[in-house]
Symmetry: C2
Subunit: 348 residues, 2 copies
């Protein structure tokens, strides 16, 4: 095993042709080659169990046929869906995906970016948490195309693809208000990224529009602890803890809006432990519509984000950019949709 690998020269020799001709046949070039020669070469390739070495081609063509995807963590089901969409489109276009989990660690993020560039990736899809982006321009100047998903990056060279978080939260909150709720709480992990800030904004906007001034205790935001790696259990427990704080409020709310489904799962869990009926005594609404939300009892009313579609669009956008055709829009916002289920009810 593992003898010297066979190259186009070996094939050329076998069929008495030149490497050039072999290359033309085997790389599906449209350069004219007699069909007789074609067959001979193809047969020889099969016979020798030839595997093309793409590094050769890639070096020559200066195109690695890979794209990079940097996300906080693939164990976040949200990103798993997005990546699935990306990969589907990439594969159809003959590209492969280099997956990088930044673990919310700016240093790792930068490291990965560097590696990707060294591997001659010409396009990157990035969901970045880290706020400082000083190095970005140095990279962009090299001609890499970059699409930022979910988390906005303030750079006019970077194409953006995001969800309208503000509107999503607004929708959810409006639903509650129309269901007769006025004492509505907002539970969120630290507002240390654009998405969460927008969520908060949407909540505030909806409340203001309805002329409601929420009590301070209804808005529970966790402390910032940026250094922890992503873990769904963490989000879940965070939901539980926020709930305990919320229940200490003098005037209890009748509904609560959470920054994501996992937090909402924690909320529901804690409420069960504390014998607070959902939705009887307290309505709960999540955000993201991950698969989990259908599995809880009561099933979770939430806001759907088209995650897979975001992956698809991001990758299409990237491929267009890499092909030189400027994308139509510099910035696309995907619209969320409210999904009513059983965890939120009309107030009697």
């Amino acid at each position: 095993m593992s003898e010297k690998p066979v190259t186009i020269y070996d094939i050329a020799q076998l069929v008495n042709a030149s490497a050039a001709t072999v290359s033309r046949v085997l790389s599906n070039s449209d350069y004219p080659v007699s069909s007789e020669m074609r067959d001979k070469i193809k047969n020889a390739a099969k016979q020798l169990n030839y595997t093309p070495n793409m590094l050769g081609r890639q070096l020559k063509k200066n195109d690695s046929m890979s794209i990079g995807v940097i996300i906080p963590s693939i164990s976040n089901p949200f990103y798993a869906d997005v990546v699935l969409g990306i990969e589907e489109i990439a594969r159809n276009g003959g590209y492969q995906v280099l997956l990088c989990n930044s673990h919310q660690n700016p240093k790792l993020e930068a490291e990965y970016l560097q590696t990707l560039l060294e591997k001659q990736v010409k396009g990157i899809i990035l969901s970045s948490i880290s706020p400082k982006k000083g190095w970005l321009n140095a990279y962009l100047d090299k001609g890499v195309k970059m699409i930022s998903i979910d988390q906005r990056i303030n750079n006019r060279q970077v194409y953006q693809l995001g969800f309208d978080y503000r509107y999503g939260a607004y929708l959810a909150c409006e639903y509650l208000i129309q269901s007769g709720h006025r004492r509505i709480a907002f539970l969120s992990a630290a507002l240390n990224r654009p998405s969460r800030l927008q969520l908060h904004q949407g909540y505030q906007d909806a409340m203001r529009k309805a002329g409601i001034v929420p009590l301070k205790e209804w808005v529970q935001i966790s402390e910032d602890c940026e250094n922890t790696a992503y873990s769904s259990t963490f989000e879940f427990n965070n939901g539980k803890e926020l709930t305990r704080k919320l229940l200490m409020a003098d005037e209890r709310p009748t509904a609560v809006l959470c920054c994501n489904d996992l937090t909402a799962a924690g909320v529901i869990n804690e409420l069960k432990e504390q014998k607070v009926d959902v939705p009887g005594q307290l309505s709960v609404i999540g955000f993201d519509n991950i698969d989990l939300s259908q599995m809880l009892t009561p099933s979770l009313s939430t806001v759907n984000l088209p995650k897979y579609q975001m992956g698809v669009l991001a990758c299409r956008m990237l491929m267009d950019l890499m092909n030189g055709s400027a994308a139509a829009e510099k910035e696309i916002m995907l619209q969320p949709e409210f999904i009513p289920r059983d965890s939120a009810a009309k107030l009697e």
Copy 2:
């Protein structure tokens, strides 16, 4: 932007050195270079905003510094954990991960394998469902190292890393028996892969050892429908459906063992709808210990599989193999562990 990229020659020219010297400095070779020259070169590199083109190095060294990972679907949280472990080790060793989702599609799987080889990947971690492996040897003969995880592959050149599913199911079943249960059901998706067969075996073994002959209706196995893509919702609904069938049994069981946590989640959900108390009237045990299992109410008793650790070990094994050092064991079986929670109770 995107002018001609700077190469070691540009740097060489700038500092009046040869490309060889530049290469030696910039590739961290231990070849002696005067520290004076070193500094000059490093500065020049920085000044020119140089990014090494790894394709050049990789072609020369015939090593792509990437490994391939082929799994059914990253949206399966089980694999997400494994991949996280793989990536961690790969990164520490300077490797990157090419992620491939086979979607349980043998054709896609073969296609990806081919692409990986063409990209000069020297190691592959594979979790393959498809039973036919005729092409495998043709690849292995080229010297690729291959580690099969979770799902066993019958090939003596392939290193194996698996869980002792049989023992895991045995443990869970034994726990139920020791809790006083004798009417124990087994619910599973189609037994079309090694893991599920072993699970079934473990159930049978434990029952036999206790001298219990389970009724036919207690063993509910879904129809095989290989063509569907993975979806946790599918597993969940499958659990619900199997439960409905199970409840039609003349003699109802007092406990049920499920092939995975998502199925168990469906079971619990359906039981709630049917007003069957868990664990009061029916104990439920899952398998996998994904994060979800802690979030259900009642929290799910299940069998933990060290998923992250499997990723770590698989990647270590692979790196060892690629470095030429034969791994100590050709086949490692990781041991599962029973996690008692609230969904399974002692029988009064």
